[in-house]
């Protein structure tokens, strides 16, 4: 690739190119070794039975793991839980972010400071967030069950919101939306502020109602950024593991399912197949979404 002239000198372009390769090489080597290789290895593992002892090599069993998955009720239920969790936590976080962005579009004293405060759930460490919510949802002394059941009487007491079958998923969805709405807020606020105010002025003069202004100006202007925020959050929520796992063991999404199969049952080959299905389902969703909704 590098041609040396007779005197051994290189041209300036060649030197630049060489330096370019030299500077990017460490990044590329690391990514190839610690991301690309594991991803390819994961594909291989999903077709094998992985023995417990690392000294023995995996045994090729073809599509067995995938066939087992398709016939397993636990797998389909985990897939459904993943879709429900992802859809509602993503929608709630996006709507929450939109609401906050519209509120903060208005000038008020202390706006900059308040904006920093709104980002706190997203900035604080996950472990702290998970445990403060577990404390607040604690069935004996938690403040949420106290207010919800003793004060407001919304439901009969004695329900552990995080371990009850029917409420665990919704509690996790709510906490996740609470933690990640600041992301949507950050993405949207800049775009909201960029909508020219004369558009609203003009609409007002033309007699458009508040709702019409919101629908025809705000939403129309924010359509693409909203769709992008939704897609990004969808991707991340679909793969979510720690946020769910640290709150409760009752919500089994595909990542949680893969984790327990791998590290509680030690079936690494089966777990590799689950994570492959997770990945393919996500890619499938992204392609359909981009083609049909974003219309790129």
């Amino acid at each position: 690739m590098v041609s040396l002239t007779r005197s051994g000198d290189r041209t300036l372009e060649e030197k630049e190119a060489l330096l370019g390769y030299a500077l990017i090489a460490p990044s590329l080597l690391l990514i190839a070794a610690v991301i690309l290789y594991p991803v390819l290895y994961n594909i291989y593992l999903s077709f094998t039975a992985v023995p417990l002892s690392p000294a023995e090599s995996p045994e090729w069993i073809g599509l067995q793991h995938y066939q087992d998955l398709l016939g397993s009720g636990q797998f389909w239920s985990a897939l459904w839980t993943t879709v429900v969790f992802t859809f509602f936590s993503t929608t709630l976080a996006t709507l929450g972010g939109l609401g906050a962005a519209l509120l903060f579009n208005r000038k008020f004293r202390g706006r900059r400071f308040a904006r920093g405060l709104v980002l706190l759930p997203y900035v604080a460490p996950l472990i702290s967030i998970a445990f403060v919510w577990r404390f607040m949802l604690d069935p004996l002394y938690g403040i949420v069950p106290y207010v919800g059941s003793d004060v407001l009487g919304l439901y009969g007491g004695d329900i552990d919101l995080l371990s009850n079958d029917r409420t665990a998923l919704w509690s996790v969805i709510f906490v996740d939306a609470w933690r990640y709405f600041p992301f949507a807020f950050l993405m949207l606020i800049a775009r909201v502020q960029a909508i020219p105010s004369d558009m609203y002025e003009a609409a007002k003069i033309d007699g458009a109602s508040r709702f019409a202004q919101f629908k025809d100006i705000t939403l129309a202007e924010l359509k693409y950024i909203l769709a992008t925020v939704f897609l990004l959050r969808w991707i991340w929520n679909f793969n979510k593991f720690a946020d769910i796992w640290l709150l409760t063991r009752q919500v089994e999404t595909l990542p949680v399912y893969a984790y327990t199969v791998a590290f509680a049952n030690y079936q690494h080959g089966q777990a590799a197949a689950i994570s492959m299905v997770l990945f393919l389902a996500l890619i499938g969703f992204v392609l359909v979404y981009v083609a049909w909704i974003l219309d790129w």
Binding site: L30, Y37, L103, A124, W133, D206, N239, K240, L246
Partner: protein, 302 residues
């Protein structure tokens, strides 16, 4: 745009130019009331858990385990903090130290490797650059859960199980794409003429990088450092499988072990949670401006 609004716009412009503009927002008292209620509610929902964490960490056992829950404590106590810092119950300081070492080393290495890589993407011209830089972004599609099984095998093979090296290598590579992206964007925003002028003056490319580009990029480098620090500080998935003994636990693993090992230790858990949050919140307050870009790009598995 309608003629009416053009007319209105023109009139307003003249008014503004003459200093007659009506700058205050014309809203009724009713509207303002609704606005402040909505704002107050949003801030309440956002901030209440943090307030409650603080109060619980400072409340005596008697008020933690009684109903109704204490919102404004009658008496404050540092008992929980003493337990957290004392060596008897659980080695919080060891966890803190481990997390700090992993996060600092990861962030330092990530900045170092990514600075060179990002400069190469931003300024140097060579075959394959476009594919490389787009490929690095594509890597971002691979989630932690997809990597966790094969990475476990790799870490076992390398003999890094139960050592902080396993986390260092994993976090370094997982944060590289974000670092490359953020630094690359920043380098591209520096006017190329400055560097060209230095080359005319006889600087070599490496001298340009060290003497001109890096000093100009200090804000971005600091932001990337703290951003990767934050990702390493938060990580749970890989740490939960690579680490086995208490001596190497990081904060997320250690606090989880405390919660599952004991009953009714909410005061201690809240104190530990608050102490874990402080480094990130302090950094964020100082660096908010720089971190917003990184946050919108999203953490690894944000």
């Amino acid at each position: 745009m309608s003629t009416k609004s053009t007319y209105r716009h023109t009139v307003d412009s003249f008014k503004n130019a003459l200093g007659l503009g009506n700058q205050t927002i014309e809203t009724s008292l009713y509207e303002r009331l609704i606005f402040y209620i909505a704002l107050g509610l949003s801030l309440f929902v956002t901030l209440f858990p943090f307030y409650y964490m603080t109060v619980a960490s400072l409340s005596p056992e008697s008020s933690l385990y009684s109903l109704p829950p204490t919102l404004i404590p009658d008496e404050l106590t540092l008992t929980h903090y003493r337990t957290v810092f004392g060596p008897e119950t659980f080695p919080f300081l060891t966890y803190f130290k481990n997390s700090f070492i992993v996060a600092t080393v990861t962030a330092g290495a990530s900045v170092l490797v990514a600075t060179f890589g990002a400069y190469s993407f931003a300024r140097l011209d060579y075959k394959g650059r476009g594919i490389f830089s787009r490929g690095v972004l594509m890597v971002y599609m691979f989630s932690g859960i997809l990597l966790v099984v094969p990475m476990f095998q790799v870490i076992v093979w390398l003999g890094f199980v139960d050592s902080l090296w396993s986390l260092f290598i994993t976090y370094l590579v997982q944060t590289l794409p974000v670092s490359l992206y953020m630094l690359g964007n920043y380098f591209r925003s520096i006017p190329e003429e400055i560097e060209e002028a230095a080359i005319m003056d006889g600087y070599s490319r490496l001298e340009v990088i060290f003497k001109i580009t890096l000093p100009l990029s200090a804000p971005a480098i600091v932001a990337v450092f703290f951003f990767t620090f934050m990702i390493a500080w938060n990580e749970y998935l890989f740490a939960s499988i690579f680490l086995e003994s208490q001596g190497v636990y990081t904060l997320p693993i250690g606090i989880e072990a405390l919660a599952s090992g004991f009953h009714q230790v909410w005061g201690e858990i809240m104190a530990a949670s608050l102490l874990t949050s402080i480094p990130l919140i302090v950094m964020f307050m100082y660096l908010e401006k720089y971190m917003v870009e990184g946050l919108t790009f999203g953490a690894v598995e944000g």
